[in-house]
C-alpha cells in the first residue's frame, strides 16, 4: 500500500501539482488505508468512503501558483467556478466550492461532481477505480483554474475592469510563474528512426522532455512516430514521462485493431501523417497558448458559445493558426480541423485545448516549435495586459 501512495505522491510533486509529499491519500478495499493515518483530516474525510461509492480519495493543497489562483477564484466566484477549457467542458463540467472541510458539506457536492475546492484548505477529489482518477481530476482542476484566471484577467484588463486588488493578485501570481522557456530546447535523438527500438526510445525521450518542460498538464498529451508503415503512438491515459511499455504500434494498412487502446487523438495523428507526410507528431497543453486561443476580439459574433467546436473565422495567435475541434472523432472532432491547418505551419493551436506540432525527421523541431509557440504566446499575453515582466 505504502508503495502505491508513494508512486502517486511522486507523480503529483514531479508535475508541480503539490509540494513534495504534501497530499493526503486514502485507498479502500475491504479496509480503508491512508498514507498519513495520523492526519486529523482522515477522520473528517473517512465518512466519504461510507456515503459515496468510491475507493480512492486525494485531499491536498495545490502547489503555487495554483493555490493562490484557485483560492482567489473560489473567493470571487458566485456559485461553482466555470472554466471554459476543453478538459472541464468534456470531463468535469464545472468546479464546485465548499466553505469547510467536513463530510457533511462535501458529500452532497461530491454526489454530483468529481471534485470540490474547499476554501482555504485545498481540493478534495475521488476515484472509483484507482488513485489515478483523483490525480487526473486534481491536475485538471489546477490546469482549468490557471487558464481561467489568466483569461479572466485579460478580459478584465481589456474591458477596463481591473482594480488594485485584482492587479495585486495578478502580479503576485505572475511572480510565482516558472521562468519563460529558453529559446533553444534540449537536444533530442537525431532521426529518422527506422528500427522499432530507436522509435520507442525516441518517443519516450521526447515524451519525458515535454513533461519536464511543463508543456502538458499532469503528463497527459500524446505523441507519435511513423516508421515502416507503423504509427507508434502513446496509449490513452498514459503518462508522457513514463511511456515505456505504453506505446501502441498501429499498422497503417489497418490490418490490426490493437490501436483500440491508443490515444484518443489517434485519428488526428493518422490524418496529420497522411496529409503532411511527416513522421513525428507532438501534442501538448501549454497554458498560455490555450489562454490566447480563447481570447477572441471578434465583436458581436453570432457563433459565440460554439467557439470550441465550430468557429468559422480564421484566427491566429502569434501567427499560429487557431482551430476549433473537440476531442476524438465526433462531428466536430479535431481530427477534421487540425491536419489541414498544420500543413506547412510550425504548429496549430486547438481552441481551449492545446497545441499540435510535427516534423519530418525526429522530435527536435516539433519540440522546438511547441516551446516557441508557448514562449511567444506568453510574451504576447503579457503585452496584451500591459505588463512587461515577461
Amino acid at each position: 500500500m505504502v508503495d502505491i501512495f508513494k508512486t502517486y505522491l511522486d507523480t503529483m510533486a514531479r508535475n508541480g501539482l503539490i509540494d513534495s509529499g504534501n497530499a493526503l491519500m486514502g485507498l479502500a478495499d475491504a479496509t480503508l488505508d491512508w498514507n498519513r493515518p495520523d492526519d486529523p483530516a482522515c477522520k473528517k474525510l473517512s465518512p466519504l468512503f461510507d456515503h459515496l461509492n468510491i475507493n480512492a480519495l486525494i485531499f491536498a493543497r495545490p502547489a503555487e501558483p495554483y493555490w493562490t489562483i484557485i483560492n482567489y477564484l473560489a473567493q470571487v466566484s458566485i456559485g461553482p467556478i466555470t472554466p471554459k477549457d476543453c478538459e472541464t467542458r468534456t470531463f468535469l463540467h464545472d468546479l464546485p466550492i465548499t466553505e469547510n472541510l467536513s463530510a457533511d458539506t462535501l458529500i452532497p457536492i461530491l454526489r454530483h461532481r468529481k471534485s470540490s475546492i474547499v476554501k482555504d484548505h485545498g481540493i478534495v477529489t475521488y476515484g472509483t477505480v484507482s488513485l489515478e482518477q483523483p490525480l487526473v481530476t486534481f491536475s485538471s482542476v489546477c490546469f482549468a483554474c490557471f487558464v481561467k484566471f489568466f483569461s479572466d484577467m485579460l478580459a478584465e484588463t481589456k474591458s477596463g475592469n481591473m482594480n488594485t486588488v485584482k492587479q495585486g493578485i495578478l502580479e503576485s501570481v505572475t511572480a510565482m510563474l516558472p521562468p519563460p522557456f529558453e529559446k533553444n530546447p534540449p537536444a533530442l535523438s537525431i532521426g529518422p528512426f527506422t528500427f522499432e527500438k530507436e522509435v520507442l526510445q525516441g518517443v519516450c525521450e521526447a515524451g519525458s522532455q515535454v513533461v519536464n518542460l511543463g508543456l502538458v498538464d499532469s503528463s497527459f498529451g500524446n505523441i507519435s512516430y511513423r516508421a515502416n508503415d507503423i504509427l507508434y503512438i502513446s496509449q490513452t491515459g498514459s503518462f508522457l514521462d513514463d511511456l515505456s511499455g505504453f506505446i501502441d504500434p498501429v499498422p497503417l494498412d489497418g490490418s490490426s485493431c490493437t490501436g483500440i487502446t491508443a490515444s484518443s487523438e489517434l485519428s488526428a495523428h493518422l490524418e496529420i501523417i497522411k496529409q503532411t507526410g511527416c513522421r513525428a507528431v507532438l501534442h501538448g497543453h501549454p497554458k498560455f497558448s490555450v489562454i490566447l486561443s480563447m481570447y477572441c476580439e471578434v465583436e458581436c459574433c453570432e457563433h459565440r458559445g460554439n467557439c470550441h467546436r465550430a468557429c468559422p473565422h480564421a484566427r491566429d495567435a502569434c501567427s499560429i493558426p487557431i482551430v476549433s475541434g473537440e476531442v476524438g472523432t465526433g462531428p466536430y472532432g479535431l481530427c477534421r480541423s487540425v491536419p489541414k491547418a498544420l500543413k506547412n505551419r510550425p504548429g496549430v493551436i486547438v481552441y481551449g485545448h492545446g497545441v499540435f506540432t510535427s516534423d519530418h525527421t525526429d522530435f527536435n523541431h516539433a519540440l522546438y516549435n511547441l516551446i516557441d509557440i508557448e514562449r511567444q504566446c506568453r510574451i504576447e499575453y503579457f503585452k496584451k495586459i500591459n505588463m512587461m515582466a515577461y
Binding site: D29, A30, H51, N53, N55, S256, S264
Partner: protein, 579 residues
C-alpha cells in the same frame, strides 16, 4: 409519472387472461426498471423449478427507454435460468424494448403454460393470444419474415423447442437474449414468439435538461477510443477486441489450455471487414451502432463468438466461424456456450477439432441427435457425464466468455462473484484492466479489486435497469447518466444515489441465489486457472492465478458487499438497502 408509465401487463397462460397492474413510484425509484424491477417481481418465485407454470418470465424496460437518451433501446428479459439455476437475466437490444414502452407498458410478466404452442401479439392496448402451431420448429429468419409486420419480435428457434439448455430468445431476427437458456423458459410455457407494436410516447419531465445531459454524454463518447476511435467498436464491432486479447495473452485457446492463438492475425476484425464489407446497424436509440452485417445479410460474429469459434475450439477457418454464428442465431442457441461445450467435448473425447464438422455437431445439438443430446446440456453436465468435471470451463455452470482470467485478475474475481454465473458483463473489468478506462489498473494484481468489482457490479446493475448499454460506460459514468435519469423522471437523483439502487439490485440477486442453495463454494473458478500449464509458442507466459490471493480477494469482496464469510447475505444489510 415521467419516464415510467406505471403499468405492467400480466399474462396468465393457464387462464388465458390479461391484466394491467400498476407499479408504484416508490417501487420504480427503488429498482429503477429493467433488471432491477424484473428481479423485484421474480423474487417470490425464485425457488420454484424454472419450468414450473407459476415461474414468471419477465420483460422489463426502464425509464430511459423510448426517450432521446443515448443508447436507450435496450431491455431485460428475466426468469430462473435452466442452465445455471441462478437468477437468469439478459440485457438485449433491437427494438423490442422501445416498442414495448411505446405501448404504454413498462413491463410484461408471463406465468402459466399454454396447452398449445402459442404466440402473443401486443399492439398498443390490444393483447392477443394466437396459435403458433404452424410455426413449430421454424427457424428465426422464417419467423422474422412471417411476423415482421407485427412490430418487434421476440422468438425462439428449434434449439429451445428441443430442450437445449443454452437456447436463446432472439429479438428482431438477430439480437440474442443470450447466456441464460431463456429460450427454454419460453418453450416451457409453450410460447413460440411475442410481437409488440406501440405508437405512444414516453413523457419526459425536462426535455431541455435531457438534451443538455445527452450532449455531455455524446461528447464523452466521441472522445472514447474504444467506442468511436479508428479501431473502436463503432467501426469494427466488438470484434475490435480480438487482436488485443491475443496480444495480452488472454485469448482462450483449446478449451483454455493456451491463451494465444497462432492464427489470430488472419481472423481478426479487419480481416472480417475486408472479406465481408459489412454495414453497421445497432439497437434502437443508439448512435454507436456496434452491430455489423455482411453484404450477404449474415450478421458478423460478436467478439466472444469470433474468439470461441476460432481459438477456443482450434478452428482457423473464417467461413466456419461465420457459418457457426449464423447457425446458432438461426436456431436460437447461445454461441459462447455452444462453442465452449464443443471445446470441452473435444478435450474429453480426445478429438482433433480440425477433423470435425463443426456445423454438423451444432446441428446434432439443436436436433438432439447422438452426442448432441449430451452436448445440449452444457459443458458442466457433459464433463460430469464423462467423469472429468475439470474439463468444463464454467462458473455456476455458465460457460466462460473469451477473456482468460489469468491475464486480468479483476476478471477472475468478477467471473466468480457474478450473480448469473461466469459472466464478463456483470462488472466488465476489461474497461480498466485492458482498455484503460476510466483509468488503467494493474491487471496482474488482486490488490484493490474487491471494491472495484463490487462498485462496477453496482454500476452495471444501474445500466441494465435504466436501461442503457454497458458499452457506453466505457466513456460516460453514472454521474452523467444521473442527469439523464433526473431530466427524464423529474426526480432529483445523483450518480451515487443511483449506485445505491445498483447495490440494492445486486444484493437482491444474491439473496435469490442463496435461496437456491448457492454459497461461497460456487463463487469459484475452474481449477485449471490455478495450475501452471499454459504452453504458448511465445517466450512470455502469464502465471497461474495464486489461489491464496484469489481467496483473499473473494473474502474482501464479501466484506465490501456486506456478506458473511460464506458469501451469504445478512438481514442487517438487507434492511439497510430497504429489502
Amino acid at each position: 409519472m415521467f419516464g415510467w408509465h406505471g403499468k405492467i401487463l400480466r399474462i396468465d397462460l393457464n387462464r388465458q387472461s390479461f391484466e394491467i397492474e400498476s407499479a408504484d413510484t416508490a417501487c420504480c425509484r427503488k429498482f429503477i426498471g429493467g433488471r432491477g424491477l424484473a428481479g423485484y417481481f421474480l423474487k417470490e418465485y425464485i425457488t420454484l423449478p424454472y419450468d414450473a407454470p407459476e415461474m414468471p418470465i419477465l420483460f422489463f424496460t426502464g425509464p430511459l427507454v423510448a426517450t432521446p437518451s443515448p443508447t436507450s433501446g435496450r431491455m431485460t428479459i428475466m426468469s430462473k435460468s435452466p442452465l445455471t439455476d441462478t437468477i437468469g437475466d439478459s440485457s438485449v437490444g433491437g427494438s423490442f424494448g422501445t416498442m414495448l414502452k411505446k405501448t404504454g407498458l413498462d413491463g410484461i410478466i408471463i406465468t402459466g403454460r399454454s396447452d398449445l404452442l402459442c404466440g402473443i401479439e401486443i399492439h398498443d392496448a390490444s393483447v392477443r393470444l394466437v396459435s403458433a402451431k404452424a410455426l413449430a420448429g421454424r427457424k428465426i429468419s422464417d419467423l422474422t419474415r412471417i411476423l415482421q409486420s407485427k412490430g418487434a419480435i421476440a422468438a425462439i428457434g428449434p434449439a429451445a423447442e428441443n430442450g437445449v439448455k443454452y437456447a436463446n430468445i432472439i429479438i428482431d431476427g438477430h439480437y440474442a437474449a443470450g447466456r441464460m437458456g431463456l429460450g427454454l423458459n419460453f418453450a416451457s410455457k409453450n410460447i413460440k414468439y411475442i410481437t409488440v407494436k406501440g405508437t405512444g410516447k414516453t413523457e419526459v419531465a425536462d426535455p431541455v435538461a435531457l438534451k443538455q445531459a445527452g450532449e455531455d454524454i455524446f461528447r464523452l463518447v466521441s472522445a472514447s477510443p474504444a467506442l468511436m476511435g479508428d479501431y473502436g467498436i463503432s467501426r469494427f464491432g466488438t470484434g475490435a477486441l480480438y487482436d488485443l486479447m491475443d496480444a495480452r495473452h488472454m485469448m482462450p485457446t483449446l478449451n483454455f489450455k493456451k491463451n494465444r492463438f497462432d492464427h489470430a492475425a488472419s481472423l481478426n476484425a479487419p480481416a472480417y471487414r475486408n472479406r465481408f464489407i459489412p454495414k453497421s446497424t445497432g439497437c434502437r436509440g443508439c448512435h454507436i451502432r456496434c452491430k455489423k452485417t455482411a453484404s450477404d445479410g449474415r450478421p458478423l460474429p460478436e467478439f466472444e463468438t469470433m474468439s470461441h469459434f476460432s481459438a477456443l475450439i482450434g478452428n482457423q477457418n473464417m467461413e466456419t466461424v461465420m457459418a457457426a454464428n449464423h447457425f446458432c442465431n438461426e436456431h436460437g442457441m447461445d454461441t459462447i456456450s455452444a462453442a465452449s461445450t464443443l471445446a470441452c467435448y473435444f478435450e474429453l473425447a480426445g478429438k482433433h477439432p480440425a477433423s470435425e464438422n463443426i456445423i454438423a455437431l451444432l446441428s446434432d445439438i439443436v436436433y438432439q441427435r447422438g452426442t448432441g443430446k449430451q452436448l445440449g446440456k452444457g459443458s458442466a453436465r457433459l464433463a460430469e457425464d464423462f467423469g472429468f468435471p475439470e474439463a468444463s470451463m464454467t462458473v455456476k455452470n455458465l460457460e466462460l466468455p473469451a477473456y482468460d482470467p489469468r491475464g486480468a485478475y479483476g476478471m477472475a474475481l468478477a467471473y466468480a462473484t457474478a450473480s448469473r454465473g461466469g459472466c464478463h458483463l456483470r462488472a466488465y473489468p476489461v474497461g480498466h484492466e485492458i482498455l484503460r478506462k476510466p483509468v488503467p489498473t494493474n491487471r496482474f494484481t488482486f490488490a484493490g479489486k474487491a471494491r472495484i468489482i463490487k462498485l462496477q457490479e453496482d454500476v452495471n446493475a444501474v445500466s441494465d435497469s435504466l436501461t442503457a448499454c454497458k458499452f457506453i460506460f466505457f466513456a460516460a459514468s453514472v454521474e452523467e447518466y444521473a442527469k439523464v435519469y433526473s431530466a427524464i423522471t423529474g426526480l432529483s437523483f445523483s450518480g451515487h444515489e443511483l449506485m445505491k439502487a445498483g447495490e440494492r439490485i445486486c444484493y437482491q440477486e444474491r439473496i435469490m441465489n442463496t435461496q437456491n442453495g448457492f454459497t461461497a463454494k460456487d463463487d469459484d473458478l475452474p481449477a485449471r486457472f490455478f495450475i501452471p500449464q499454459v504452453n504458448n509458442n511465445d517466450a512470455y507466459q502469464p502465471p497461474a492465478i495464486n489461489r491464496t490471493d484469489f481467496l483473499a480477494a473473494r473474502a474482501a469482496y464479501y466484506v465490501v458487499r456486506g456478506l458473511d464469510e460464506n458469501g451469504m447475505p445478512g438481514r442487517e444489510k438487507a434492511q439497510e438497502l430497504g429489502l
